[in-house]
Every structure is written in structure tokens, then in C-alpha cells.
């Protein structure tokens, strides 16, 4: 676990500051909730528009006039976009950044299996990804108490856990792109296309007869809106997300272990 521990130690600044910054949305919301609540009723009418429906997806059907509804809509969107950006930008560059900096040659001349090296570095990403839902969860619970509102901590835990599983599965797909292309721009383009397409498919799936598109997107599984509606995390959906993640991670490790490092 040397690679994991050392990189965990070396990456702590970015690894902690970024989730801390993202989770600031929660205290921000608690601070403006009284004003937000007044405007929520009029804003809720706007959400009936098909454009907003498409933009918000399942989150658009949430009752905005309640703290729980507003919390999940704003925090949910913020977390969704965090998942999109993080999973595109970080895992795809785990390998390619080392190739750009030319540090991989020295490291791989030591007796460590390539797949293990990659796995340990991906685990660093997953470890820091835990902080996003963890910070939001803690601030969400504390913030809700501070303003005297209610927020089901179990559902919050489910939805935050779901975000982490998204980060795992989408991150594994992005990692696979990195190992496939071994070049930053191409890897980022591929992972961006793969992840954003899925995001768009989920949104389009909420319109008209395009529902079938949603089935093809990971964002359709373990969705916050669905968790909120059902009050539970679907094990079938969890199996889909985890399954895709494991297959993508396995593919990435296999490709990196066996492919030629010609750059």
C-alpha cells in the first residue's frame, strides 16, 4: 500500500480543500434559507417548464417549498456536477499526467506490477472522493439542526453514498479512457464524451418518448430524486453501478498491465 499511502499523504491539500469548498453550498443554503423559502413557491411554478425538467431531471419533481426538497435540489445539482467534473478530470489523468511529466519510466523500473500501481493510485482518488459526501452529510445534518428544519439522515446517507458510487463507476470509466489513450487531451476528450453523453441521456430521457435513453446512463441509477421518493437505495441499481465500475476498473487495470508504453 506504499503507493496509496504516499500519494494520499502528498495529495492532501487538493484532496481536502476541494471537497471542503464544494460542501460550502450547505452552510450557504442554511444561511439564505428564510429568503429562499419565500421565493420557493414562485420558483416551483417555473420548474413545470420542460426546459427545467430536462435540466433538473428527477430533482425537478422535488417539492421546493420544503427544506428537504430545496436541500436535495440545490445540493443534488451541485453534487451531480461535482461528480461529472471530478470523474472526467481526475481518473483519466492518473496515468496520463505521469506520462506528461515523464515520471512513469522511473517508477515502473521498480518491481511493482503496473495494475497494482494503478489500482493504488485510483484508491487515492476514491479515498478523497469519500470526503465530498462525508462533508455534505455532516454539514447537512448540523445545518438542518441549526435552522430547526427536518432532514431524514438515513435518506441523506443513502443519497451521499450513491454519489460516491457514481464517482467510483464513472471514475473507473474515465480511468479506462486514460489507460487506453495514454495521452491527456485524448483521454479527457474520451472520458468527457462518455460521461457527459450519459448525463445528457438521462436529462433527455425525461422528455417525451426518449425514456429508453435513461436506461443507458449511469446517472439514472441511484438517482437522488428516486432515493428521495422511495426512501431507500435500490440494491438492483446499486448492483448496476457497482457492476459497471468493477468491469471498467478491471478493464483499465488489464489494459495498463498489458499495453505497450510507447510515448
Amino acid at each position: 500500500m506504499r503507493v496509496f499511502l504516499k500519494n494520499l499523504q502528498k495529495g492532501w491539500k487538493g484532496g481536502i480543500v476541494t471537497p471542503a469548498f464544494v460542501s460550502l453550498i450547505v452552510p450557504l443554503m442554511t444561511g439564505i434559507w428564510p429568503q429562499l423559502k419565500e421565493q420557493a413557491a414562485s420558483f416551483a411554478e417555473l420548474l413545470d417548464s420542460p426546459i427545467y425538467r430536462a435540466l433538473l431531471g428527477q430533482l425537478g419533481i422535488i417539492d421546493l417549498t420544503t427544506w428537504q426538497g430545496a436541500f436535495y435540489m440545490y445540493v443534488g445539482i451541485c453534487m451531480e456536477w461535482t461528480v461529472v467534473f471530478l470523474s472526467i478530470l481526475v481518473p483519466a489523468r492518473i496515468v496520463t499526467a505521469e506520462i506528461d511529466k515523464k515520471t512513469l519510466d522511473v517508477t515502473l523500473s521498480y518491481p511493482i506490477r503496473r495494475w497494482r500501481y494503478l489500482l493504488e493510485k485510483f484508491m487515492v482518488y476514491l479515498a478523497y472522493c469519500l470526503l465530498y459526501p462525508a462533508f455534505v452529510y455532516v454539514l447537512g445534518v448540523v445545518g438542518t439542526r441549526s435552522i430547526g428544519e427536518t432532514l431524514d439522515p438515513t435518506i441523506l446517507l443513502y443519497s451521499m453514498t450513491a454519489f460516491w458510487f457514481w464517482l467510483f463507476a464513472l471514475g473507473a470509466l474515465s480511468l479506462f479512457c486514460g489507460t487506453l489513450f495514454l495521452e491527456t487531451n485524448r483521454a479527457l476528450s474520451a472520458s468527457g464524451a462518455l460521461i457527459i453523453t450519459q448525463y445528457v441521456m438521462t436529462r433527455l430521457g425525461d422528455l417525451g418518448n426518449l425514456g429508453f435513453l435513461k436506461d443507458l446512463s449511469l446517472f439514472n441509477y441511484l438517482n437522488t430524486g428516486t432515493i428521495l421518493q422511495n426512501g431507500v437505495m435500490s440494491m438492483n441499481e446499486l448492483a448496476v453501478v457497482v457492476g459497471v465500475g468493477i468491469v471498467a476498473l478491471g478493464a483499465a487495470l488489464y489494459v495498463f498491465q498489458n499495453r505497450e508504453l510507447a510515448y
Binding site: K6, K102, T103, I112
Partner: protein, 308 residues
């Protein structure tokens, strides 16, 4: 593999890229990295691997390290296949790449400690390396000069005192004093039976430390020779002054062993001759010679001859 050979490269061929023909048109491009390269490195020797830029040195080194997939041939290190037994081989090798890059946020100490977990450092030897190289290991790599980074790279490559070292331009960026210290270390390692496969453009370095050299050009190995023999055997400068008739330059150039003929003045010619000089001498005896001198060419001249 013979008992003595640490590295055996046999008919190594590596072609980059692919070429396809579709509807009479060619797509893609193939670039020869190495073609039918064969050589071996004996235990306890320093083997210099030379060649112009793009000749195939790095390709060969990266193939040995199993970074590249070769199309043909075989590579064995310590008698083990470079691909199948890559992990076992890496336990016994040290490597410094030509364009060395280290983790910028690590200090030298942290790098040593980090890599120590993969291939244990020889603590006594590390102390010796610290006394030779003066780079401050408590500083982060990003704050080090190029020469100091190279020193850290050398410490990392040598710290475990591996049996076989693959060093791609190891003294690049070092000041002459540090380079001399590195050469001394290489010789000491050789004396202990360690093997070094070294690539360099510094001919003084090659002459100072290498036992044998191999020259690669356009992906093909064109020469493997002992350094000692190279100077005497491979290129000689022959200066001839004639008392009367001077032979036609074309006649002399037609001799296989003559590489070039240059008229220094009306009566004197300077010839560069490779390997066998006898045929030239037979031709020259047909003329009235005033003076004849034969000198070994410098190592630099020899390399330039092969590089061109």
C-alpha cells in the same frame, strides 16, 4: 545465455506505427525503432551504447525494460525473459532514463524512502553515494537544478546496488567534477562484478569508463567492439607525400578500405582508412613516396565516421 552474459539481445526488431493500404492508398506510417539488433553485455563490464539521436538507443533500452512490445527477437536479462519475468528482473536492475523526471513534490529523501519499499536500499552504499553526490536531499525536486536532479536520479538508480544498471546518459547535466565522481563509482561497481549498460554522447566518458561499445544507427547495430581495439583497428589517418606523380584521387577512393581522400597541398594527400590498410599500401607502392605517416584516428573521428 552464457554464464557470463547479463543481457542478451537477439534479433530485436521494433517497428512503431501501422501502415494499411486501402483502395490503392496508403494510410498510417511505420517507423523503424530497431531492426535485427543483436548484442550481449557480459557480467562485470561497462557496455557503452552509442548512436546519433533517433538511432534506436532509447527504443532498445525501453524494450529491455519491457515498456515496448517487440515484433521479433528475444531479450533475456540474467537468463530470464524480459517480458515474462519482468518483475524478477526489476528486483535486480537500476535505471535512469535519458530525460529523467522525478516527482516534483517529493524531496530526495522522500523519493529514496518511497522507492526503498519496492527495491530495498543498501544503507551503507547509500551513505557512500550521499558523500559523493552533493545534492541536498532535503529539498523538493522542483527546487533542484538540472544537475542536482540528475544526482538524485543517480542515487536512486544506484542506491540498491543492483546487479545490472541501465543508464541512459547518466552524467548529462552534471558538472565535470560530479561526472568524474560518477565515473569513479561506475568503475568501482564494475570492480565488484556489477554490470552497466550505458548510453552516452560524451565520448570522453565512453573512453573513460566503457570496456566495450555498440554503435546503433538507423535502428541497426553497426558495430560492437572493445574500446581498446576500436582506436587502433577501425580508423587510421594516412598522410602521404609524393616526390613526383600524385595518384588520381578517384583511384584511391575506389579502394574499399579508403573512406575519404583529401589533398592537403600539391604533393600531399590525407586519407582516412578503415580496417585493412594493406590494399592501399599496395597501390601506393606504384608511386614515388617522399613521406608516409600512419596515425590512429581519435575516438571522436571514429564515432563521427560511424554516425555519418
Amino acid at each position: 545465455m552464457t554464464e557470463e552474459n547479463v543481457l542478451e539481445v537477439s534479433h530485436l526488431t521494433k517497428i512503431y506505427g501501422r501502415e494499411m493500404t486501402l483502395a490503392g492508398r496508403r494510410f498510417g506510417r511505420r517507423v523503424v525503432g530497431a531492426r535485427d539488433v543483436s548484442f550481449s553485455v557480459r557480467r562485470g563490464e561497462i557496455f557503452g551504447f552509442l548512436g546519433p539521436n533517433g538511432a534506436g538507443k532509447t527504443t532498445t533500452m525501453r524494450a529491455i525494460l519491457d515498456y515496448l512490445h517487440i515484433q521479433e527477437g528475444s531479450i533475456t536479462v540474467f537468463g530470464m525473459d524480459h517480458h515474462d519475468d519482468a518483475l524478477e528482473i526489476r528486483e535486480r536492475i537500476g535505471y535512469i532514463p535519458g530525460d529523467l523526471a522525478l516527482y516534483e513534490n517529493f524531496t530526495g529523501e522522500e523519493l529514496i524512502e518511497y522507492f526503498d519499499g519496492f527495491r530495498p536500499v543498501d544503507r551503507d552504499y547509500l551513505r557512500e553515494l550521499r558523500s559523493v553526490f552533493r545534492a541536498d536531499l532535503s529539498l523538493r525536486v522542483k527546487s533542484l537544478s538540472t544537475g542536482n536532479r540528475q544526482q538524485v536520479g543517480l542515487i536512486l538508480a544506484l542506491a540498491s546496488k543492483p546487479d545490472f544498471m541501465i543508464l541512459d546518459e547518466p552524467t548529462s547535466g552534471l558538472d565535470p567534477l560530479m561526472a568524474a565522481s560518477a565515473h569513479r563509482l561506475f568503475r568501482e561497481l564494475r570492480a565488484e562484478g556489477k554490470t552497466i549498460f550505458l548510453s552516452s554522447h560524451d565520448l570522453a566518458e565512453v573512453q573513460a569508463v566503457c570496456d566495450r561499445i555498440g554503435i546503433i544507427k538507423e535502428g541497426e547495430m553497426i558495430l560492437v567492439e572493445e574500446v581498446e581495439n576500436l582506436v587502433s583497428k577501425f580508423l587510421q589517418n594516412v598522410r602521404v607525400s609524393f616526390t613526383s606523380e600524385v595518384p588520381d584521387l578517384e583511384t584511391l577512393e575506389a579502394i574499399d578500405s579508403v573512406i575519404s581522400v583529401e589533398a592537403e597541398d600539391e604533393d600531399t594527400l590525407l586519407l582516412k582508412v578503415k580496417e585493412d590498410i594493406n590494399e592501399l599500401l599496395r597501390v601506393l607502392t606504384r608511386y614515388q613516396i617522399d613521406r608516409l605517416s600512419i596515425e590512429d584516428a581519435s575516438l571522436e573521428e571514429i564515432f563521427l565516421q560511424y554516425y555519418q
